[in-house]
Symmetry: C2
Subunit: 272 residues, 2 copies
């Protein structure tokens, strides 16, 4: 089985590392900016714990897997990749092009698992949709085998579509979670209420879009554009102006989506 | 068992009517603005189908239950309630005070089931958190018994807390669903992508806040305030300015929430 150097010890790396190891891949080293982070993940994987200062003395490996933040990736690729020309260099980002590696090595690509990863929040990797791209036949082969060993849902995807998929994921996950956070803030004003009371609503809202389109599933004052309720609710947010501004734009946008004619005017590519 | 006149034949009424009937309540009539709507729901309940023009010739009932939109409620209460002084008058709104009925009758209140109701999307009413309020002992007793026959999660709640709960529900449901809709719009630009690919992410995002607070659960470019990704994603929305504006405010708000110090500075009542 191939050996892997795993760059990063954060939310994504801490899920991919154990999942890869469980399918038989050998994690030779975990490399992180901070020694303590590398140590914590490397211990779980019986791997060497290294920092960026150990470069270029990382062990040899078949795959260099970069599970680091988008803003760290270009510099890390530049510093590291050329020293390991035999390896396939793979990052996990939705929004960075594969060719971040192209000045340095021939075989590289992307393994983008579209999920929200938090350390300690267990996930079944088999269920995670993964989107892959390879620079040449060798990279594509190595990445495809790695992806299919982890997930039952692997799709080849180019950068244009992948970055829009990542943008869609930001809406469907990060922005959704922030709406939960806004709800939690409001709930916290009232000692007789608790966030748990919202969970059946949160669950049903997610469940509904398995059967209906989000457009069909929409309910509430904004879709009816009930001006009295919208003004009153907006007023309740007057002391948090940023939340109030988001509330007002969201209400307008919901109403615009509801009154658009999707069947007679299908969305144009960039103007849905 | 008490008899009920059900006003409204929309999403909420079409769930409450059958649920009430299943627990033994007799739905004497369904009253709606449009005869065809009243007819459709009344047939399922073996009830009389009436319109607002039949007033004041509705059958006698113990409960007048108003499952109508917030903007229709005040006028309907004014037109109807005084003619049925023996009944308890109950509305289902999160954002209208119980005393919309106070000029007309003595016994009135609120039964607010906090859920997203769509016709034809089945729900188990036992699981729905319901919030109730009664104007006097009789109303409170009648409404409590009705609520507890429908739901295992009944909480008495005054108007101040109820309307903030409704506002929280708008964030946790309507705005969340609109984020799904925005994601669907973006996905629709690419024939090789489908909305279904987002469902594992949507499900996990909802599941995570059962175990973590939304603040702890947050991931993605905005919480890291990765300027390059935020600018690039913002640019991808340039042709839909309202969506782009929401994207930018949401990203800013996520970052502000992430950098606030919740443990040392707990949120003040109106300035979380």
């Amino acid at each position: 089985m191939p050996t892997v150097i795993l760059f990063g010890a954060g939310n994504v790396a801490s899920h991919i590392g154990p999942a890869l190891q469980a399918t038989g891949y050998e994690i030779a080293a975990v490399v992180s900016r901070r020694a303590s982070s590398a140590q914590a993940l490397a211990e779980k994987l019986s791997a060497a714990a290294l920092t960026f200062e150990h470069h270029p003395k990382y062990p040899a490996a078949d795959i260099c897997l970069y599970a680091v933040s988008d803003d760290a990736l270009p510099l890390l690729a530049c510093q590291v990749a050329a020293s390991y020309p035999e390896a396939v260099h793979v990052h996990t980002s939705g929004s960075t092009a594969a060719d971040v590696f192209s000045p340095f090595v021939a075989s590289y690509g992307v393994f983008y698992p579209m999920q929200t990863f938090t350390k300690g929040a267990p996930l079944n990797f088999r269920d995670i949709p993964c989107f892959i791209e390879g620079s040449d036949a060798h990279a594509t082969d190595v990445i495809t085998r790695m992806a299919e060993s982890l997930s039952a849902h692997v799709t080849p995807l180019g950068f244009e579509a992948r970055r829009d998929l990542h943008l869609a994921a930001v809406w469907a996950c990060n922005f959704v979670n922030h709406c939960y956070n806004q709800a939690a803030d409001i709930i916290s004003r009232h000692p007789e209420l608790s966030f748990d009371m919202l969970l059946p609503l949160i669950d049903e809202t997610a469940r509904k879009v398995h059967r209906l389109s989000p457009r069909e599933a929409q309910t509430g004052p904004a879709v009816r554009f009930d001006r009295r309720i919208i003004d009153m609710q907006s007023q309740r947010l007057a002391h948090t102006p940023l939340s109030r501004d988001i509330y007002q734009l969201m209400s307008r946008s919901i109403h615009e989506h509801a009154t658009a004619q999707p069947s007679s005017n299908p969305p144009s590519p960039l103007n849905p």
